[in-house]
Symmetry: T
Subunit: 154 residues, 12 copies
């Protein structure tokens, strides 16, 4: 059975392609979802791709991932900097977590340098635009493979 | 066709008139909505007046304003100080934005001095009580007129 | 008629018993609810016990408490550190408020030392695990009794 | 007899219309004075409109307002951020005070975010350009009317 | 043999009932001691109740608790915020420690928000007035029972 | 009956005249006590003059002043900067308090700029050497006289 | 020939007796000047008593004191916290300097805790109301006497 | 002709595989270089792979990259947090820059959260161990392709 | 026609040669003015040399420079650290600005490290004593020549 | 006559050997005293070895050292971080002072990095466990020898 | 014999003329060296002009300057903000030191405002581009002349 | 075979004896090396004694110590405060590390209070001048003996 990756997108990412294209490009979130699903297929993974503007909804989804997904890729967008609730939810999943930002947050306003999520992430990547999702999927595939191989050895 | 102003009200403003009247007065949010609609009529504007306690709901409404409203007046209340999501949503509307607080936030607790919204607002006003909404509508009318006249010249 | 205590639980507390048991123990939130209801009965109180991952939902519930509950016990979890909206909602209830944390927040990450809720709470307690709820109910009973006796004297 | 509004302008505002037009527009301070006087007339108010580059001169004028003016509108410009003397002078007038900035100070250098004046102002507005003076006069008229009606009731 | 609880009270608590009654009530420390002893009896505990204005004396007493008491309840008062010596002494006792403040320290001056004691306490409670001592005793009884049951199982 | 002034001296002041004479001069604490008693006599006051290196002892003495002294003059020396216990003790005396430093603390190390005592003092003076005690006694005489005259009027 | 003391008063002190009487009392600056002159006479001193709202004017006066006055008593009021120019001017006079505040600045807003003047003052006193001027004159007399006696010995 | 990627490794990375394996794994830098070269081949890229403990040497190499390499991947290790010289050198190359850390720097000591390099990087990734180099090469290939296609269009 | 350089000197510089000679030397401001005029002559420049203790007067002079001077050399002295008004005035002149300090401000009190003026200056120099004025004139000559040559090319 | 070294031990050091042996080892303070006395003998020194939990007692002892001891070795323990009184007492002894900590304070909680004592110590050492006392005695012997040789030369 | 000036250039200055010409212009470091040598000749000075990207190399050169050069002009570039080693080396030369920056560091990123070198420099200049070297040489000539004349007088 | 101690000296220590003798004395680094070697002999140790001004060189040497030396004594000089690279290199050696400063760094500029090295050192000593090296060797001998005895027991 294919391993599953939950890809979560935070507030305003549903507006991608329409917003500040100088920073984020013209690709829509639908395009990204399609690319992710295609790329995941090649990696033998299935993808559950979601977006919400609601912090609580993201927390709900993270909680439900436990036992259903093998890895979480999360682009927390604005909640990166303000949500302890998402941090707490991620911490209790015991899954590999990849934090992703399309823009280089270190080149923007100082309040974007701090992430509540990073300390509980396995890995973090930013600044690669929509390609970041593909890189994250590649990493997810390796992390899941490593975990599976470790479990098989036991 | 009349220009439209979206007036958004953040958490706990639905309790106006019942809460800390020494600071906010006895006027209810319903009173304010009625006054806004009457005053807007005189300015040739229509008003869409909403309130939510949910950060994500306010983000949803701001996203939907694009292309439907000509100006946003927002009293973000508690989310003024904690919501990057609302900041990001406002930034992508490309509309004139007026930030409004009924009390003088500079005379309250220090954490109320900082607003995530102010840097992306066209103008900010606070301390004028319910009259602040009327002042904001007057300003909205002028901002819309200026914008329309600029577009007509092109 | 029995006095009513509203017990509110913030994000991720629905996962109790499954999450970081070294810190929180194996008791589930359902166990706690049952214990609270049993203990409250002995104190002549009824309990309305709720949990949400949504900041806005917690604000809604606090607003509705006014005139219906005699005391609020709140474990704001992650929103302790980030929610001005909950602070504002609590402030307007005019009810005794007991803030409760199961773990000792002062022995965890520094960002957990600050609580927006504490300045408007009547009392605060942390570090007593699930027993903290029982202690909070005992305190609620005393606070309600004191208030009732004060009102009877008038 | 008409109520009087004292409108004070701080350093460098005499250069308006010649300076950084991208931020302040081409309107001169003389234009603003004329517009204020015309608009005040319609509100049944007279205006005393002044400008100085000297902190001490502004303090002198504020002191003299006591008993002669019914409201002060002040655009303290650079002294906003550095003058405790103006703060102290305003505090002792017992008049309604409206603080006004033509540009949105929250979108400029960080040292412009802090105002010594704001905590003693009745209301604050910024970012509305020259129109801010008109909005401030409207607010002044309402504040004076409210005060007069309160005094008449006594 | 009855388990023993050491209750330590820091500087100025001997003046209770005479000092700032709006904050602390009219109960004296003698009243509290009597209540504690009565309540402890019902819990099958004995109480050793002490007060000192001297930091060094409190350190002496904490050191002596080792092997003689089963739990320490400490209201460090002013030394909460300034004493590393008390922190170090508590840390070496290997006993459950309950930190107690009668007033809600989070609603007072900012320097009262920080406690050197809290990170080594099992639990912390504040704002419940003299009732806090009763709550702390209830908690002590539970903590001792849990510890005893754990030791019996070994 | 003569009014009484309690003059308290903190740690190391017993070494006056032997220590860093460039800063404190050659006068001993005994000299100062003698001068104070002589000067107080001329003002119709008696003086109770004490020194301790022990924070707890100073707290004890302040507590005992209540109802026995009419004013406290305190040179808290090193405890100025570190003692919340002395602050709390002074606050509960309800007496006029004069804080005194022989050297100009503002011209020394930065940690000496902050005083826990100052916010509860009636007046503060520093930098006048041993003469500061005489100035403080003069002020004490005036404060006691003002208080007595106020009480007589009631 | 009588020694001369220059007494300088900063911004808004000309309004004394009319402003915030709860803090500053009903005494006017004219009353204080008269009291100072009378008290100085008894000390064999003459007094030059001035007030200005202008920082530059205060700097001018301090510069002129050199060689004409034997001591400066300065109540810098608001400029205490903001004027490096006054600090620099005082530093170059080589005269004894007494800094004076009528209210206890340590019990007001935090920005009033810092004084640019204090590090170059001989002594500082605050919180004694109008009596502070009398205390400062007494201190000035002693400082001048000490200096004269030192010069005579050379 | 194949595009070239310069991969720079900062201080102590030559010790990889021998040092803190719990954090960095047992892979040596030689292993990583071999993997990078093999993977690059598949992407049609050549790799110039270097390591130095000397800040100045890394600056020299970055300067030489101009006009010779098409992309820089840099793991600045300790110099991430302390080197403005490397920041300045990278800024002047006008090449795409990928910053890479094997461990998740956000989960280590606070001084490791700040990177001088990040603001001038195109993208940043951390926490993926030796796989991070492969991910960076994939990203480099895409960035070079995008740049080449942009240049071809001109 | 000769180009004109406005040389402005801030508070207390009129006392040069009399004040803290260890830091500033014995040269008076009159000497400096004479040297500047002689040196300027050799450079084909005229000099308008002024000093004021009044912030507002310095602002007035800067405003008047527009269109009359070709370069401003300013030694803002104490106002360097406190005047936003001078910063704003300089910014609107559109002239080359040279900021000058006779002493090395970086080797004095920490509050002298920050200059409001530096960010709008073309160049800054400090620590060269009275020679700094000659260096600044040399720089002014070059800046004016560069500007003139640029305008001639248009 | 043998030179004397006063060795002072701060709060909780009397518990050595019983407390946190992972950090401090099993050696008791009695063992250390015996070792110090034996080692001192070999160096021709006598040792006065004391411990107190009372800040004031430590201050008393330091004051008495003057003229009686030739060097002070102090392990201030918790008072390192909180006692200005001990700093002041040490400063007035005019003796060489060696500050000693058994554990490496730089590897513990951040509040342990700051020592009030260090700036007045001749030398500081930490992290060498009980051996630190021997090292300090060796250093004391050298410091006393150097001082004696200097005095003999005069 | 001609006096010698050592001119040291820090990291990346060898790239001048190729890098960020909007900030630094098109002049190369070779051009600057040639100009310096020509200008020095006219001043009767010889110039030793060097550049390194290596902090240690710059330290080596500064150490060697002692007794060989009469003045050091240093443009520490990136090491301005990070090198205590260069600060220490400069401090021990006992030579006049001129710190030079081509760009106005006060108008760039905040981390460029702080210089470790400035407190030990005789004078500092920035923002004058390549002309800054000429100004520095003029200043060096005057500083050497002043020193020589002082030595001749002895 | 004799155990080996690597003694590393950071930048500018090669200038010892020529530099700021008031702080460091007249002893040269050569003298110290000779003394160390003689003293080590008595302890049955050999010494490898090195100095470099280059951070990278120090890192190289630390890396090479692994498996060749039994203890590192390091006087990192200026790099104490700025080098994460040295911290990382030391951390991976798994050797006992003694950090040494000749002057008392706590009595110098504030930036010298922080050491990147201290948290990974076994012990730290400062302020004992050249004798510090002898003390460090004594400590090294004890640390090596303890380690050897522990290994023999296994």
């Amino acid at each position: 059975m294919a391993h599953k990756v939950l890809i979560l997108n935070g507030p305003n990412l549903n507006m991608l392609g329409t917003r500040e294209p100088a920073i984020y490009g013209a690709t829509t979130l639908g395009d990204i979802e399609a690319n992710c699903k295609a790329h995941a297929k090649g990696l033998g993974l299935t993808v559950d791709f979601r977006q919400s503007n609601h912090e609580g909804k993201l927390v709900d989804w993270i909680q439900q991932a436990r036992g259903k997904a093998n890895c979480i890729i999360i682009n927390p967008a604005a909640y990166t900097h303000t949500s302890v609730a998402i941090l707490d939810a991620l911490k209790m999943t015991d899954l590999p977590i990849i934090e992703l930002h399309m823009s280089n947050v270190h080149a923007r306003e100082p309040f974007r340098y701090h992430s509540y999520v990073s300390p509980v992430a396995t890995g973090v990547l930013c600044g690669f635009g929509a390609d970041g999702y593909i890189m994250a999927l590649d990493a997810a595939a390796r992390l899941i493979a490593a975990q599976t191989s470790k479990q098989n050895k036991k």
